[in-house]
């Protein structure tokens, strides 16, 4: 094995968290190696293919993980286990590429609200749930939310959102002009006494940071952006990290384990390079940013005599509290055309139901859905329409251009038994034990979901929908793109994995900086919170190294 030059820090995963961390540390003068198991796609990889993309995944997950190399094991409600591929249900996929989920996501750029960091204080204990406060508050993240909004670039207009937490500055770009759905829903929301506004988005609406404005095509969520108008770490902080000259990005590299010395301190990582060769990268700091399932998997695959059940897992918290969002909402059928073929589609939101819902411990933001392709519309056909035959076709033909979907990411009640473990038998292409996913959803999450679906339906009815039908969560395990919670941030080492600085309690030079550390995941898309926390944690880290 060739000895690689030591780095100050090795960052595992070039997604939302890893991209920001790599750039901040490289800019602070540290030598950084950024390892990514996927590829670096470009705007030229933006093939408009409704069956082969990151959203529908009919013919595979376009931006990874690899269909053949990266299986997982999923247990259903009855405890039956299945080996699943990335494009199959139960896998809990998030893209594996430079940019991670941010390469092909919808790009909503939400700040959490103050109460989202104090769920336990706000609502008290919820039976059967590990619901807790974050060890940091909104005010700790506020300056870093602002940094993310301006450095990466967020458009929208939240000035009309009366529920937003205090903020020091507005957004750097205006929203896109409202499309048909926006106009229909805005009028109705005001009539209901709700407070609609323009969704903040990591999407250029005017030229910004050297990239052009959105051209409003219909190939948005799940696709590469051919203009690079949509913003992720792949077209912002990662190029910036590389341009410092201090960061080296290595793609196609699968990290096997964190290397520890006799005292249990990290000395680097072992990884398989793009040619399948095992390499050792010595580093003073190891920063795990692989997403909630893969970050926890790497810790559990790091065995040591001091940590026989995995690094950071002394009290059996690694991999637990796997959560995401329980999307709930409704679709409305209108007697006029609502489809105007203008992307990205999602544009209008309300935060009237995030908190303060009687008898409920939380809620969700509600927004109209992204623009849909014909095959995706299959999922929106109401349950009373036969699933095949003349009537189904007739409905699709009639309704495709006459529907609006409103939904929201319901904040979930974390469950100790919703978890990833290592599978005792199944290994990936490199021989590394794979993630084994099990558990379900808390009944109160489902209850909140039903409430939110009812509010979405009421909004659509007020907008003139002639028929409406609801979508509420079932009790299956939650995960996927918004996966979070598996390496909880907390003050007590007995009930969390990392401290408030995102450092593993057990070891002073291993950090986890991604949504794994979220104790709860807000009633919002989580990416801006991942960014903000990464800026915050990287700043603390850089200061600590300098001292």
């Amino acid at each position: 094995m060739m000895a690689l030059a030591p780095a100050n820090a090795v960052v595992i995963g070039a997604g939302a968290g890893g991209g920001v961390v790599a750039k901040q540390l490289a800019a602070a003068g540290m030598r950084v190696v950024l390892l990514e198991r996927g590829r670096w796609y470009s705007a030229a990889d933006c093939r408009k293919d409704d069956l082969y993309n990151q959203r529908t995944q009919v013919l595979g997950a376009r931006f990874g993980p690899d269909e053949e190399r990266d299986p997982r094991v999923a247990l259903d409600g009855e405890g039956r286990e299945m080996v699943v591929r990335p494009s199959e249900g139960g896998y809990s996929n998030n893209a594996a590429c430079v940019g991670g989920g941010t390469f092909s996501y919808g790009a909503m750029a939400w700040r959490f609200q103050e109460k989202d960091f104090r769920m336990r204080t706000t609502y008290g204990a919820v039976e059967g749930s590990t619901l807790d406060d974050w060890p940091i508050g909104y005010s700790d993240l506020e300056p870093f939310y602002e940094k993310a909004e301006w450095e990466l670039g967020v458009s929208g207009d939240v000035s009309n959102d009366p529920f937003k937490a205090p903020r020091g500055r507005g957004l750097p770009m205006p929203p896109l002009p409202p499309a048909k759905e926006h106009q229909v829903l805005e009028t109705a929301a005001r009539r209901l006494g709700l407070h609609p506004f323009h969704i903040p988005m990591l999407r250029n609406t005017v030229p910004y940071n050297g990239r052009p404005a959105c051209m409003r095509c219909r190939w948005c969520v799940g696709f590469a952006c051919e203009l690079s108008a949509r913003t992720g770490t792949h077209n912002t902080v990662i190029p910036a990290a590389l341009s410092t000259g201090n960061c080296e990005l290595r793609t196609g590299c699968m990290t096997k384990e964190i290397l520890l010395d006799a005292q249990g301190r990290a000395t680097g990582v072992a990884y398989f390079d793009a040619n399948g060769r095992l390499q050792e990268q010595p580093a003073g700091l190891v920063i795990v940013c692989a997403g909630a399932i893969e970050s926890a998997r790497l810790l559990l695959n790091t065995k040591h005599k001091l940590f026989p059940t995995g690094l950071g897992n002394r009290y059996d918290w690694v991999g637990r509290n796997l959560q995401s969002h329980s999307y709930s909402g409704a679709t409305g059928l209108f007697d006029f055309e609502t489809y105007d073929d203008l992307g990205p589609g999602a544009s209008i939101a309300i935060c009237d139901y995030n908190h303060g819902n009687p008898g409920l411990a939380g809620g969700a933001m509600l927004a109209n859905e992204f623009i849909r392709l014909p095959y995706q519309f299959m999922g929106q056909v109401p349950p009373w329409i036969p699933r095949w035959g003349a009537e189904h076709k007739e409905f699709v033909r009639h309704a495709y251009r006459r529907t609006i979907q409103v939904q929201g990411p319901v904040q979930e009640m974390p469950l100790f038994d919703a978890r990833m473990q290592l599978d005792p038998r199944v290994k990936d292409y490199w021989g590394i034990p794979v993630a084994r996913l099990s558990g379900g959803r808390h009944p109160h999450t489902i209850e909140i979901g039903r409430f939110i679906a009812g509010k979405a339906e009421a909004w659509l009815k007020a907008a003139g929908a002639v028929q409406t039908w609801k979508r509420a969560p079932g009790n299956s395990l939650s995960g996927g793109q918004h996966q979070a919670g598996t390496c909880r941030m907390g003050s007590d080492p007995k009930t969390s994995v990392v401290d408030r600085d995102c450092r593993i309690h057990d070891v002073d030079n291993v950090y986890v900086i991604d949504a794994s550390v979220h104790p709860t995941n807000g009633g919002f898309n989580p990416v801006l919170t991942i960014f903000a926390n990464a800026y915050r944690a990287a700043g603390i880290l850089a200061k600590r190294v300098r001292a």
Binding site: K48, D49, D50, L51, Y52, V58, L59, G60, P212, A213, C214, M215, R216, C217, R218, W219, E226, L227, D341, L342, G343, P374, Y375, F377, M378, R387, W388, G389, A390, E391, H392, K393, E394, V396, R397, Y400, R401
Partner: protein, 173 residues
Amino acid sequence: MTVSNTSLRRRTFLGVGLAAAGSTLSCAPVPSGGVWRFFTPIQARTVDAICAQIIPADQDPGAREAGAVHFIDLQLSKRFKRHRAAYLRGIAWVNNASSSRFGKPFAELAGEQQIEILNLTEEKEPAFFELVLAHTRQGFYGDPRHGGNRNRASWKMLGLPYPPVRGREHYKV
């Protein structure tokens, strides 16, 4: 809608469909003459008949006219290899059920008989039915480059503007 009405409309359409097929044969992604990658011609005929009931022709082409069976056949030779066994078993099951109930293979049954057999399949062989239902939808509503949705039949039906990328037409960058 009554059954007789449906079949009348379908018969009316078929004439139109044949004429249209003649003019578009040259640009079809997969030869419609029967170069099957996975199915035998008889299996293809069964699946084609299933597709034609799942999304029937009416004033617009259905899954048969859009070549959904070509999408399925093509994908069974690559991305859907893992579903091959399920198709072979499912096709045999459908034809056996058709023979024992009506004395003919599925493709030769009348429309109402085919619907009866498919209802039975949905109930007795749900795994296969879900598969062929999903694949027929994909082969009808999905991108033509994968072997189905010939001549962008479903996209035309939905009035979806073409070419698929037209952002710049709406919004001057």
